[in-house]
Symmetry: C4
Subunit: 248 residues, 4 copies
């Protein structure tokens, strides 16, 4: 019995296991949609009742799933303290502890449960590639994050000295200027803060010429690392084939 259940709950290669997984995934998406709809203003009383009832059903089903997963697991404690175990608990816990708004916000973490769907669609190979790529560029990305942090600090301090006198209510302190630095260097440029003095504009020009690259290089690094990881995988595959048929 327990063995049969495990095949359904933990395995997703069998037909029943797939149906179980698709159902849970579908329920997660529905519960996230309900969660989002609840934030809409001017909802009708009837809609709210329906949404709360649906939430009740979701929590019951997710709780059953959680208990089931602990029950069928060969090592229950390992599951409980695993990443997915904690996420699974966080997505039902708020309902039981209290109904205060703050805690219910934790429901948003249900979104992480969607990652489980990746198992279904069999992206193991692509995910493995990401893992490889992450290992390849780890050092560079950390280095770039440090450089970015230093660069944002310098940009904030610099613009503060140029613009503070002209726009004291916007560039009030280095912390306020950091908001400008982030919005500018990522090229978002909302337009709520921008330099107005000639000095500040020239400083922005300088900062942008160097900074735009710094912020976009990490993405380029990850992209090239992924293509490298693909090559490594292809190489490994060929290697395996050669070992299997050595007298070719």
């Amino acid at each position: 019995m327990k063995e049969k259940l495990r095949l359904i709950v933990e395995d997703n290669t069998t037909k029943k296991g797939k149906i179980f997984d698709y159902f849970i995934q579908f329920l997660i998406l529905l519960s996230l949609a309900a969660f989002s709809i609840q934030t809409l203003p001017n909802l009708k009383d009837k809609t709210i009742t329906v949404l709360e009832f649906f939430e009740l059903i979701c929590v019951i089903l997710f709780s059953l799933e959680y208990i089931l997963r602990i029950y069928v697991s060969k090592n229950p404690w390992k599951y409980i303290f695993s990443f997915y175990g904690i996420i699974d608990l966080l997505s039902i816990l708020p309902f039981f502890i209290s109904h205060s708004i703050d805690l219910r916000a934790l429901r948003v973490f249900r979104v992480f449960r969607i990652f489980r769907a990746l198992k279904l669609i069999r992206y193991n190979k692509a995910l493995h590639r990401f893992h490889l790529a992450a290992k390849i560029v780890k050092e560079e990305v950390i280095l770039f994050l440090i450089v970015t942090a230093i660069f944002i600090f310098l940009a904030s301090a610099g613009i503060y000295y140029f613009e503070n006198k002209a726009q004291p209510e916007v560039f009030t302190s280095i912390f306020h200027s950091a908001w400008w630095a982030v919005v500018t260097l990522t090229t978002v440029g909302y337009g709520d803060v921008y330099p107005t003095t000639t000095g500040g504009k020239m400083f922005t020009f300088l900062i942008l010429m160097i900074g735009v690259g710094i912020v976009t290089i990490p993405a380029g690094l990850v992209a090239t690392a992924l293509s490298k990881a693909r090559e490594i995988q292809a190489e490994e595959k060929r290697e395996k084939k050669r070992i299997k048929s050595p007298r070719k």
Copy 2:
């Protein structure tokens, strides 16, 4: 006779076939221009008459072309239900069914007929390369789209909690906040919505540091895949040469 017409309509390697294709392409561009001009306000009555008359001519010519393509086709049904067959029909159908504005908007799909021009300019090889590249990065791009969707949801839910109290009319619900998330993560930053609380700004900073990469990586992936596809094509070409002249 039918054979001769097919050489003109379907083939574009012959001189007559080329002239036919260039003429149709030119007509498509003209009809799209006319379509755009019709949306201009304060047009003179005379201009409207001319445009409508031109549209009439276009529809007649496109209809003749459509009938011709069915007539010369070896397998008419295959053409009718092919991608270009449907596009060709969509670009003339609205005129015959009704003159309601909504349906006439379908004329905009004529733009897809321009892709046929690619056959003319002989971009088969480059197109094949794109096909190869798409196959190489398919998995990663889908993975990134899922991650992007999850990321946008988390960003929307997060900013909603930070900014909803301060700007209830802008960050009204998670759906309204999603607009901010999209505009920010793609670095468009119109400036119609932006966080004003310190918490919201710090959250934006965090979201941008991770998110800008996520949105720009797919473009990098496609670019590197295309360069990889070019190498594969070059390899295939060399391979072919070697087979042709094995004793070199």
Copy 3:
């Protein structure tokens, strides 16, 4: 005599040739600066007089240089109708024909003369690499430009239908909407035009998800092509060495 002058004017490997070239480059930069300063409002009469006098000197010197280049050239007509020959003429012609503002604006083309400086700094190899890279990605870039054009048209027509009723003064016609499409797809996002309806916002979301990639991919293509061109050059260099010392 003519031979000696040619060594100074056309050659930049000799010491005198270098001094001549540096002097001309310096003069071009100065004349561009003067040109920019002349657009400043509220200039003093004295400044204007100085700038006009400087412009006079520049034109005289550039004219002398132009005549000199024709004189020393082995094939004067070839020089006159070459790219640099025309640019050289355009940078002095406006002064002689008239003093109307419109024609004097042609002086801005003097900026192209700066490219000559590249010869000085010996970037021939890097330039050759760009030439190679351009040849490699030519097809893809043209393909992407066509796709971009089609995409901008579709985005403009789409947003026009969504937003025209809500903001008739901004999304007046497809042409007006094209401005929005360009500013959005390049992620500039000035904030002077943006959708306000739910339909328009969802359409923007869709357009951005696909479009941001389309606009940034060409840059990625050029970057990878340049790195490929570098490899080809390195390969060629090694090949040459091998030929020179075959018994290594």
Copy 4:
């Protein structure tokens, strides 16, 4: 004694050296935080006193460190005129010379001392890779900077002619227009300056189509160069191994 101190101050492989380095790094971060907090408006008198006292302690400790570094150095003058020597001096000098606000701003350069932290976290290899990558793309990046400068000048001059009459207070001169060119070509797009005439908008469209690539290509070049540098390092490593064990 001096030898022992040198092991602590200059070396960071020993335990004591690491503690010393971590302490200095921590102090730098704290002093930068204090520096930023001091720019906040409406600080309480008590907070200011505490911050000034903390600054005094920092300067004393940094001065001691500076003297120590000169003392233990085998070649004191070399250290004093090295990059880090000057940075170290700049971070304490303002305090001693005067208390004028302008000079105290130099404290911001303390941020550069953080780079020393890189030695600690052992990023030598990644840093070396950056050095290699910089050497590979040096020529292209300089070429692109020149092209960018020319492009910004042309964009500024162009938009000035299109928009000056319509918006004389924004596009006052070519210098004022350069601010627009920078903000647009980097796709920041604050929205404080944008073209309003049809000519200006079409010019912007043209400029963006070419310009966006020019600004983003250098980042792509650096990213691919870094991946190339990684390959070179891996190659070198393999080469070394082969030399060590030649009869494998």
